[in-house]
């Protein structure tokens, strides 16, 4: 079965989608990633879609769902490298990726994650 690899980098997981996934591969990725967040105690997930030429409603929703699930599992998700044409098409499709944080590239995404996690740490400490 075809699968998308998930790499662990410190406390983050990095998913680089390099192929045009068909729907089942996308669903499998969803399962794999949530399981991996739990087993690796990951605090953040970076999903690099710079190789994707199109993101249709299905994949868009999958990304949104992933972000929501990660949040439930106490991990932040950042989608990086979305092509401008893809972004425009998504908007025209009427798909708003609510709750999905995006960044220009992996570097920025990492920075964003770090900042978010630091903030959370502070907030958590304050509210305790």
């Amino acid at each position: 079965m075809e699968r998308i690899p998930i790499l662990k980098m410190g406390e983050y997981l990095l998913v680089t989608i390099q192929v045009d996934m068909h729907d089942r591969v996308a669903m499998t990725l969803q399962d794999d990633l949530t399981a991996r967040i739990v087993s690796a105690h990951a605090k953040g997930v970076l999903i690099d879609i710079s190789a994707l030429e199109i993101v249709d409603s299905f994949i868009g929703r999958m990304l949104g769902d992933l972000a929501a699930m990660s949040r439930v599992l106490a991990a932040e998700t950042v989608v990086v490298g979305m092509r401008p044409a893809v972004a425009i098409t998504l908007v025209e499709l009427g798909l708003s990726l609510t709750g999905v944080r995006t960044a220009l590239n992996v570097e920025r995404g990492m920075e964003l994650l770090r900042r978010r996690i630091a903030e959370q740490g502070r907030d958590g400490a304050g509210s305790d």
Binding site: Q18, R24, D56, S57, R83, L93
Partner: protein
């Protein structure tokens, strides 16, 4: 110029992957037609949505890409057809008020927004047909016929999946590497677990070694204790002997002093020492597994009689009685009598030690299966606590008790008895109650398993002062009759039930006489008689033939000295035996070669008056004497300084003047059967210094000189 749309590509949608292929082809076609990248993405996305719907809701479908060159402006047409159930709430989907239960529902409206024109026909049960159009950009090259052909060729040759496949391959490799890592990690975990197990094993092994070392230490300690005990046991009689001897030597200056009692004491002490040595030897032999079992017929009542006699000296306490009772129906046992006797002796002497009053009862009864006999030794003594009942059979164990402290033991009696019982194929057990008494039971097979074949060798020991008589008779019970017949005489029977046994016996002992019973094996028995007469080594041995038939003439003709028909009259037989074996010896010369002064003295005393004795202290003098004055018999010690006894034997055999003189070896070491048989090949008889009595010596000399 033809009008009408030209088909660029038709794809059938049946699998997940086909959706991906369709949108990728859509992107490629859009690119070839001159759409910019934004439009390419829009077209691909719209195709993806619609094709997915066809695949997901209708199960399969078909997508066709066409280009309408005739139209102004030129248009890309995408037709997606399926044969599904149709879309039930098309109106609501199209006006956006429909909410899909699957959370989808964006596809149709989204695609409609992305394309220039969007037509949908959906007939229930007939399927859905969607036609989408996108007008080619104004700057796009005009689609001439040639251009369309080029595009078609490009589409067909295009491998849109090339890049994707490469990625896919790399993904797979990455996944494999990850899998491998995982496997390796699991392997490491497994290895670690294995190492932990091994470690646990090593720790356990260490513990075991520690335990063994501890056990050895304890055994060593016990042996040391045992040795110091034994040393004491040895020292006591030795001290007595030295003290008594000093007394005698000093008192000889005074006249009329009675030394007899002192000598009796000395003998007692010496006997005690001898017993100790024998016990130690027995133990060493049993421990080394070198004790042979020599089964022979055993008469239980006779065995009990002997035990009663042997143990009487231990009955010092008047308050304790020693009773023997054997059941009447006991069959003749075939077992090793010496070992049974040793076991019972141990048990009885133990019982006597630990009984202050009451009785010690020794019994024998046949087991219900008829194949085993049970000997029991019961006492009314101190008893043994249950926790000690197994321990007493372990070596060097002595249970602490007031009576135990009074009587010294080696702690070997019961373990030795147990081993001997096991050697005989039996068991030993104890039942006891503290303060009431103990009962030891020895269960032995009636027939020792090795007794199925009559053994050639058995434990036969020359009784001091007796002369061996070889009794050849194929019935074992007949031997018992002869044994009774010769009881109290100077003769000791050596039983042989087969001709082979008889011939073997002639190699082991030098009988003073042969009693040959002619029974069923008639022919064989006569043959034996003939052989005895023809062999120069045996032609001097008198033979008495006994038979149930009248065969006197034949017996005497074949060389027998006497004949008796059955039943044999005891008196007449004994007289004949005496007559045949008694010799007139007064003038005979005996040469003694012995370096030990005490032995020389003892032998000289023993032969005093009966023979003329010449004694030499070494082999050289002995040889000189033997050549100078012909001796009738030579007594030879093998352990001599300078020339050894063996060399002297050879020298005697080489010299014609001494070759025929019979030699009796006087051996200082205890001999087993093999050693004895070996020596008998070189000498007429072998006497151990341990049984060096006057009677034994005279008997041996008489037999050697041929009465």
């Amino acid at each position: 110029m033809s009008t009408g749309p030209a088909s660029l590509l038709t794809l059938v949608i049946r699998h997940d992957q086909d959706v991906v292929t369709a949108r990728q082809r859509a992107g490629t076609i859009a690119d070839l037609l001159g759409f910019d990248s934004g439009e390419q993405t829009r077209i691909a996305t719209a195709v993806s949505e619609i094709v997915r719907n066809a695949f997901r809701y209708a199960g399969a479908g078909q997508v066709e890409f066409l280009v309408d060159r005739g139209a102004q402006p030129q248009t890309l047409i995408i037709r997606v057809v399926d044969r599904g159930k149709g879309i039930p709430q098309l109106e609501r989907v199209l006006n956006g008020s429909y909410k899909s239960s699957t959370g989808m529902g964006l596809g149709i409206t989204g695609a409609r927004r992305l394309m220039d024109e969007f037509q949908i026909e959906s007939t229930p049960a007939r399927g859905t047909r969607i036609v989408m159009r996108k007008v080619l950009p104004p700057r796009a090259p005009v689609l001439t016929e040639a251009r369309v052909v080029t595009i078609l060729r490009t589409i067909r040759s295009h491998q849109p999946a090339g890049m994707a496949e490469e990625f896919q391959r790399q993904n797979q490799e990455l996944l494999r590497a990850l899998d491998e890592l995982q496997t390796r990690q699991e392997e490491l975990v497994r290895l670690n677990r294995e190492l932990e197990d091994t470690n646990r094993g090593v720790v356990a092994l260490y513990a075991e070694l520690d335990e063994k070392a501890d056990h050895l230490r304890r055994a060593d300690e016990l042996k040391s204790r045992f040795l110091s005990n034994m040393t004491h046991e040895f020292r006591t009689p030795v001290n007595s002997i030295i003290g008594l001897c000093n007394l005698i030597v000093e008192d000889r200056q005074r006249d009329g002093h009675e030394v007899e009692q002192e000598v009796v004491y000395i003998r007692k002490a010496a006997e005690q020492l001898g017993e100790l040595v024998n016990d130690l030897l027995d133990l060493a032999k049993v421990e080394a597994g070198k004790t042979p079992v020599r089964p022979a017929p055993v008469d239980v009542s006779k065995l009990f009689g002997a035990l009663r006699g042997m143990l009487r000296p231990l009955l010092l306490n008047q308050a304790v009685a020693l009773a023997f009772d054997a059941a009447d129906d006991l069959p003749a046992l075939i077992t090793d009598e010496a070992k049974v006797s040793q076991i019972l002796r141990n048990l009885i002497s133990n019982a006597l030690k630990f009984t202050e009053r009451g009785e010690v009862r020794v019994g024998a009864a046949l087991a219900t299966n008829g194949k085993h006999i049970a000997f029991t030794v019961s006492d009314t003594g101190i008893g043994i606590a249950p926790e000690d009942q197994q321990r007493i059979f372990e070596e060097f164990t002595q249970i602490e008790h007031r009576l135990q402290r009074g009587v010294r033991g080696t702690g070997l009696g019961l373990p030795l008895s147990k081993r001997l019982a096991e050697l005989l194929g039996g068991t030993i057990s104890v039942s006891s109650e503290a303060g009431i008494g103990s009962t030891f039971s020895v269960t032995l097979p009636v027939r020792h398993s090795a007794a199925e074949e009559p053994a050639l060798e058995f434990d036969w020991r020359a009784e001091p002062g007796k002369r061996p008589v070889l009794v050849v008779d194929d019935a074992a019970d007949e031997h018992l009759i002869y044994e009774k017949l010769l009881k109290g005489t100077a003769f000791q029977i050596y039983p042989a039930t087969t001709i082979e046994q008889a011939e073997h016996a002639l190699g082991v002992i030098h009988p003073a006489l042969v009693l040959l019973d002619i029974r069923l094996r008639g022919a064989e028995s006569w043959d034996l008689l003939l052989r005895l007469r023809r062999d120069p080594a045996t032609d001097q041995i008198p033979v008495i033939v006994v038979s149930a038939l009248d065969e006197r003439e034949r017996a005497l003709a074949l060389g027998a000295q006497a004949y008796f028909s059955k039943p044999v009259p005891r008196r007449a037989l004994l007289d004949t035996m005496d007559a045949l074996t008694t010799s007139s010896s007064g003038s005979m010369r005996v040469l003694l070669v012995e370096d030990e002064e005490i032995s020389r003295y003892l032998i000289a005393q023993a032969l005093d008056g009966a023979y003329q004795l010449t004694a030499c202290a070494d082999a050289e003098a002995g040889l000189r004497e033997a050549r100078a004055h012909a001796a009738d018999v030579i007594l030879l010690d093998l352990m001599l300084p300078g020339i050894t006894g063996w060399e002297m034997l050879d020298a005697l055999r080489e010299d014609a003047s001494t070759r025929d003189v019979p030699v009796i070896i006087v051996s200082g070491s205890a001999l087993d059967h093999a050693g004895r048989a070996h020596l008998l090949r070189h000498a007429r008889d072998v006497i151990s210094k341990a049984d060096l009595t006057r009677e034994r010596l005279l008997g041996a000399i008489a037999a050697a000189v041929g009465r």
